[in-house]
Amino acid sequence: MADPNASPARFARTAHVARKEWAEKTARAAFFLMAIAMVVPLVVIVSYLVWRAWPSLSWDFLTDVPRRGMTAGGIWPAFVGTLYLVGISLAVSAPIGVLAAVYLNEYAKDNWFNRLVSLAVINLAGVPSIVHALFGLGAFVYAAHLGLSIMSAALTLAIMTLPVIIASTREALASVPVAFREACWNVGATRWQTIRAVVLPNSISGILTGVILQVSRAAGETAPIMFTGAVFYKAVARGDLFPYRLDEQCMALSMHLYTLATQVPNVKESMQYATAVVLLGSVLLVNAAAIALRIWMRGRKKW
């Protein structure tokens, strides 16, 4: 008596099965193409920008000051200005952000007040950059009498980067298992002693990654600084590392790109592209460093 389960007809490749296989293959290919549709623009954009920028890219371009009404020369003041803005804004937002995240993750009880604080952080993260500019104007330039200056612009950038630093630091802190904290409390350690000995050292890489990513964001934003302290043109000595006072306005790389592309006539196209390449290149480099840090730290896990 033949065993019906052994019949080859059960596993035959009928038309129905063939159709299913074909549908599967098509679906896989379609999704693959969609994913590739992300890689392609990045590669194409970066290559095209570099290609068009090539005639103007040089060490001189970076270190020289703009000449002849910015149609020639370099971008040094803008580059240095961006360094000032990013440095000061992160010096303000990183400590506050990390401490705020420590509060939210380690100290805050689950009550309505702390839920409100969490909500505030999310809200702050979603504010459009132009509204940050308006706030900077209203609060720092006018109310605090800082005027149009590097301080105003940097503080505006600080408020902009603060919520994301809080969120990424919280994630890093939360990745440390609760069991470690409980073991510390059981031997009479205070909350801070626990944080200092176990929680912070084991989340520092996540915290650093979050801060570094905000460096690139602060460097790339234009609107918040356009109206609070970044300016069209400022006379600066070539290659000078400390050309600005904090109460002065400054040039910035992001603002400079906007200026060259829309406000100054007769700028060589390759110069515009070169400015874009320097800005984009710096930003991508910083991000790549953060990603590399994260991958390296993943290999050194302690538990």
């Binding site: 031997v187 009479g188 000995a197 302690k302």
Partner: protein
């Protein structure tokens, strides 16, 4: 005998929100005894320990009433809760090695308490690891990570940590559920030796473990004390309650 009790619990009630889990229990713990606490899961055994060292404070919806007196002073009224937690050692069910070196694991509590001198700390580390029956295995690699040890070693490391702050009372909460029988037996020997220095409360789901180690045993069921008496009595047919005899003989639980 005739010494005042080390711990006096009077009408202790604990509720998580609206649900009461410990229903007004009262009992004493005598100095230098091993008190076994047995009972099925969800009886309130762990909650009881957490009330003792005030880690119940970390549960936001826990409501505690009644009194727990350590050497006559109510733990709920104490000002320095950290000092209280150092006077009571706690060993959790799951072994936890902190992600620090073995040395730092044991040095952690003394340092938090303010001890600074290297020599003093060295002495404490060696003494506690020896008392916990771990010294010989790790003395050559005190710098290696605590989390890299085996489960049984990490549990002994936890005991060493618990001993490092000179507790007067040592509480163990089902310490053997995640470790092998050989390590369990070694730790049971350690506990027998420690009895001369401190009072021990041993919460366990292994009734035979209580029978081996405890001087007196308390049977906790659904947040109520069914019976508390000398161990030989609890485990014999002379136990006062039928429920005790049933539990001890494995009829339920």
């Amino acid at each position: 005998m005739g010494q005042p009790p080390k711990i006096e619990v009077e009408n202790l009630r604990l509720a998580y929100g609206a649900q009461e889990v410990v229903h007004s229990i009262s009992f004493d713990v005598r100095p230098n005894e091993i008190l076994g606490v047995i009972g099925p899961a969800q009886s309130g055994k762990t909650s009881l320990l957490r009330c003792l060292n005030r880690t119940i404070d970390f549960s936001p919806n826990a409501i505690v009433s009644g009194s727990i007196r350590l050497d006559g002073r109510d733990v709920r009224a104490t000002k320095d809760v950290f000092d209280l937690r150092r006077r009571i050692g706690m060993v959790a069910p799951l072994p936890v090695g902190l992600p620090l070196s073995i040395y730092d694991n044991v040095a952690f509590a003394p340092r938090c308490a303010g001890l600074r001198r290297r020599g003093d700390i060295d002495a404490i580390v060696e003494r506690c690891l020896t008392q916990a029956a771990l010294w010989d295995e790790v003395k050559d690699r005190l710098d290696s990570l605590g989390t890299a040890l085996s489960g049984g070693q990490q549990q002994r490391l936890t005991i060493a940590r618990a001993l490092s702050h000179q507790p007067e009372v040592l509480c163990l909460d089902e310490f053997s559920i995640a470790i092998d029988p050989v390590t369990t037996m070694r730790i049971e020997d350690v506990l027998k030796d420690l009895r001369s220095e401190m009072t021990i409360i041993l919460v366990t789901n292994l009734t035979q473990q209580a029978r081996r180690l405890a001087d007196r045993t308390m049977f906790l069921l659904d947040g109520n004390i069914v019976e508390i008496d000398d161990t030989p009595i609890i485990f014999s047919s002379g136990a006062a309650s039928q429920k005790t005899r049933d539990y001890v003989n494995g009829v339920f639980g």
